[in-house]
């Protein structure tokens, strides 16, 4: 979708913006103040560049509109390298220098149209996804009219950005379904190559355009381009040799997992009943990987017809039963329109993933794949293996995944309606188009709760769960997430069963008369900044401000974390360097949880301050002494946090 930006709109950009700041709460209060009421996000005035805004516990640092030729074209995903944010756009990409976040400077750009132009970086390489039918190898803007063309690019463009102002297109890897998104995966054991997983959900190309692309399903042709992902290997010394090295069929034999609504007792009960039915000779049906008991009302007429067919009468014999057992799967398959070939082939279900978020430090990936959320073992990058799957009766389309830093939780998003629909209206169920939060233990995912943007949006605003990332608040699981025109929402999911919003920013609709396309496509924390790619409005930068939910120490501790690069679907292990802010953040959290008595907290704070005023061996000894006293602390209701605090104080002592 596009917007014609008038000179007036662009010129008067920063003038006339109405910033509505929600009631800010004072920092450090033990009981968090509730979100502002009434919610200031309701009823915001519309406008492309002069919409009213609401912010809570966030400060707007800058808002930078996209320049030509990107203005009016869809801004998409974001990647980061050093001081740069690289922002994808359906017309190419923009490179922003964030050295002064109050005034990002366009350092470079490339006009090279393709949807969705999702971007990633690795070393001096930049990867850009192309999916649509009009992308061209020569970056031309004229599209591709022919149904079969040698000029069409659907797949991955690879640029050498050693000189970021002069990118060199070193390779293009064409794929059968194009690249809707992609995932960069570094193999800790392999320093010579980097891998890219391609997720492509659009139609399959003609084999005349890209040889080997098979449109038929696997039961008809085992080389089908469906039911698989693509893995591209890029030799770092010779990126021009990038090529697809495997097409893992990670969906094979996928069995419909239990829906979250079933309690563990229900599931155990069902399994018991199934075993009992099997033991008592009940007729079992196995169809598409799911085993079911055929009830008597289903089998009795079938047995009767078998008896009649052999000219007999009366009760069915053992042979009659055996005949039914041999054929019952085919009978049911015919009744529901599933052919024998399909029953014996791959299971139905996802033919592709939308996103695959890799967390190499724990060897796992979260695949958001059509009707399923998958857990993948990626210790062998070329051959990812599915090790778990979840489904959810409220989820429409599994879109993306985020692990918490410990790898003990995983959050999936549901991009119900594809991102173009207004799915956050008061009338839309809060469990639809939301996040689903699962705990992750022994590689098993267990549903805990949903989180959906808590502020209702209008029918003029496309809104649904979209991209986000962790904010490195130590000792907590905090994430910032895009909700398209619902704005951005920062929420805490430390308690997987009770996620809570702690900050937000929102604007009114881009258009007051109809639903336009706009809002935040992705928002990621990067080295102290919260950077959002606004589809229609450009690049937004925010900072967290202290509140009852988040103290200055917690924010300062987060800001000690520094990434050299960051990609949308790559999750780095967050490690906090020792700092006074880190220890004080844990103290603040112990105050919030009443994990230590107020007097003890005051004592710890005083000792930290005293140590900060010292230097050398004296500081080190003072900190070790404090650490030892915390090691010996007993009776805290939050012993885990006390242990984190003690560890951070010892680390600080050793760092001196």
């Amino acid at each position: 979708m596009s917007y014609s930006l008038s000179h007036r709109a662009r010129g008067g950009l920063l003038v006339g913006l109405v910033a509505f700041l929600g009631a800010c709460v004072s920092g450090g209060a033990p009981t968090p103040a509730a979100a502002p009421k009434p919610d200031p996000r309701v009823g915001l005035r519309a406008g492309l560049f002069d919409a009213a805004e609401a912010a809570w516990n966030l400060r707007v640092v800058s808002k930078t509109p996209s320049p030509e030729p990107f203005a009016g074209q869809t801004n998409s995903d974001l990647a980061f390298a050093g001081k740069y944010a690289i922002q994808g756009n359906y017309a190419g990409y923009q490179v922003w220098d964030l050295s002064n976040p109050a005034q990002p400077v366009l350092a470079a750009s490339l006009h090279c149209p393709a949807s969705q132009s999702d971007v990633s970086v690795y070393g001096n390489l930049l990867f850009v996804s192309g999916e649509g039918l009009s992308g061209r190898l020569d970056c031309g803007t004229q599209g591709v009219r022919d149904t079969v063309s040698s000029i069409r690019l659907r797949g991955l463009r690879i640029f050498d950005i050693t000189d970021i102002k002069n990118p060199k297109n070193v390779a293009n890897v064409q794929t059968c379904r194009g690249s809707h998104t992609h995932t960069v995966l570094e193999d800790p054991k392999d320093k010579e190559n980097v891998y890219v997983y391609i997720s492509g959900s659009a139609g399959i190309r003609s084999p005349n355009e890209l040889p080997g692309c098979v449109r038929e399903t696997p039961d008809v042709n085992p080389n089908s381009a469906l039911f698989r992902i693509e893995v591209i290997k890029i030799p770092l010394a010779n990126p021009e040799r990038a090529a697809i090295v495997s097409s893992p069929r990670i969906f094979n034999d996928l069995v419909a997992p239990p829906q979250h609504g079933e309690a563990p007792e229900d599931r155990a009960n069902a399994e018991r009943m199934m075993a009992a039915a099997k033991a008592s000779g009940a007729f079992m049906i196995e169809i598409e990987g799911t085993t079911m008991v055929a009830p008597p009302q289903f089998t009795r007429p079938l047995l009767d017809s078998i008896v009649r067919a052999r000219g007999g009468s009366g009760a069915a014999t053992r042979e009659d039963s055996a005949a039914l057992r041999a054929n019952i799967n085919d009978i049911v398959g015919r009744m529901v329109g599933i052919t024998p070939a399909r029953r014996n082939g791959p299971r139905p279900g996802p033919t592709q993933c939308h996103d695959i978020t890799v967390y190499p430090a724990i060897g796992l990936a979260g695949g958001a794949c059509e009707g399923y959320g998958l857990l993948l073992d990626i210790t062998d990058p070329v051959n990812p293996r599915r090790i778990g799957a979840v489904a959810d009766s409220n989820f429409s389309y599994w879109h993306s995944a985020t692990f918490n830093n410990d790898g003990t939780k995983i959050l999936f998003t549901d991009e119900w309606g594809g991102g173009g629909g207004p799915k956050c209206r008061a009338s839309d169920p809060t469990a639809w188009g939301a996040n689903a939060i699962f705990t992750l233990a022994n590689r098993t995912m267990t549903f805990q709760s949903y989180y959906k943007l808590p502020a209702p949006q209008t029918s003029l605003e496309n809104c649904v769960a979209h991209n986000g990332k962790l904010i490195p608040i130590p000792g907590r699981d905090v994430m910032v997430q895009s909700w398209y025109q619902g704005g951005i929402s920062v929420f805490d999911w430390t308690d997987a069963a009770r996620p809570v919003e702690i900050a937000f920013h929102d604007r009114g609709p881009v258009d007051s008369t109809r639903m336009g396309n706009g809002g935040s496509w992705s928002v990621y924390w990067y080295n102290g900044l919260i950077v959002s790619s606004e589809i229609a409005r450009g690049l937004d930068i925010f900072e967290l401000t202290p509140s009852a939910y988040l103290t200055k120490n917690e924010i300062d501790a987060a800001n000690t974390v520094r990434f050299a690069q960051l990609n949308p679907q790559g999750q780095p292990k967050i490690v906090w360097p020792a700092s006074f802010a880190l220890s004080r953040a844990y103290v603040d959290q112990l105050e919030r949880s009443s994990g230590l008595p107020a007097r003890r907290l005051a004592d710890v704070r005083a000792k930290l301050s005293a140590a900060e005023g010292m230097s050398g061996a004296a500081r080190s000894e003072a900190l070790h002494a404090l650490g030892r006293s915390l090691d010996a602390e007993t009776g805290s209701s939050d012993a885990a946090k006390v242990k984190l605090l003690a560890g951070s104080v010892h680390a600080l002592a050793s760092a001196n």
Partner: protein, 264 residues
């Protein structure tokens, strides 16, 4: 995307589209009026939420749905919206196939909505009612997207007629079913059903209906120059993945219903 496995029971394919087309639909891309030109007359009202009719009478002898649009058409396009569409079309001109897809899918969606609106009074299970509610929510929004796309390009905006696309041909009015759409007999059979009987029919018919939609997407993308328009590409791709995902879910539901019902 099970391309060869479709067993669409009764499908009136969109054949001979050059000879038999919706009255007034352009035979090819045509230049749009200059930005700022007066917008096309409004075909409906701007506020649609409050005025969505129930669409289907709870009649047991229903043959075909009442000829009432299930969603009213969108309001007039603003000058800005038309200007945006002009800019878009200069970049990627849309084709007849794009227009036919966006027009034909309106009636297709309208029928899915009308089918789903039968569920609250007839379904035997909560799962079917939930599925129906989600189909209504999704496809009502999508009809607005299609109507806006057409209106912005000054193309005729067909009403959301659940009985198919209405055409004028040789002085006669014809209603054409898009792929996968239910015949009046199938509609009547569905409307007569209750309980588990309804659930089974609903799933069978909706699978048929969704497969028709994915067939329409394939047909679109196999037409030269089609799908270059950014919105058409995204919309058609989304319809394809959403409905394919829903087909897989409905097939599983259908197995359970068939077993539970038993044989007559």
């Amino acid at each position: 995307m099970r391309r060869t496995a479709y067993r669409v029971a009764v499908v009136t394919l969109l054949v001979g589209s050059m000879a038999c087309r919706a009255s007034g639909v352009a035979t090819g891309p045509r230049p749009l009026p200059a930005p700022g030109a007066p917008a096309a007359p409004a075909r409906g009202v701007g506020s649609v939420d409050a005025t969505v009719p129930t669409g289907v009478a709870a009649s047991d002898t229903l043959t075909g749905f009442p000829d009432t649009p299930v969603v009213l058409t969108v309001g007039p396009s603003s000058a800005a919206a038309i200007a945006d569409a002009v800019a878009d079309s200069i970049r990627h001109p849309y084709t007849t196939a794009d227009v036919e897809f966006m027009s034909g899918m309106i009636g297709h969606h309208a029928q899915a909505i009308a089918m789903a609106r039968l569920a609250p009074d007839r379904a035997g299970s909560e799962a079917i009612r939930t599925l129906a509610a989600r189909i209504i929510n999704a496809q009502v929004d999508e009809i607005r997207t299609m109507q806006s796309w057409l209106a912005d390009r000054r193309q005729p905006v067909p009403p959301a007629n659940p009985n198919g696309m209405t055409h004028e041909m040789g002085g006669m009015t014809h209603t054409m079913l898009m792929p996968g759409m239910l015949t009046p007999e199938q509609v009547a059979a569905l409307a007569r059903s209750r309980g588990t009987d309804f659930d089974e029919r609903f799933l069978r018919f909706m699978i048929q209906h969704h497969r028709g939609a994915t067939a329409m997407v394939r047909q679109l993308f196999s037409a030269p120059g089609a799908g270059e328009d950014e919105l058409v590409f995204k919309f058609a791709s989304d319809v394809n993945v959403d409905q394919s995902t829903e087909i897989a879910r409905m097939e599983q539901m259908l197995v359970a219903v068939v077993l539970q019902r038993g044989l007559p």
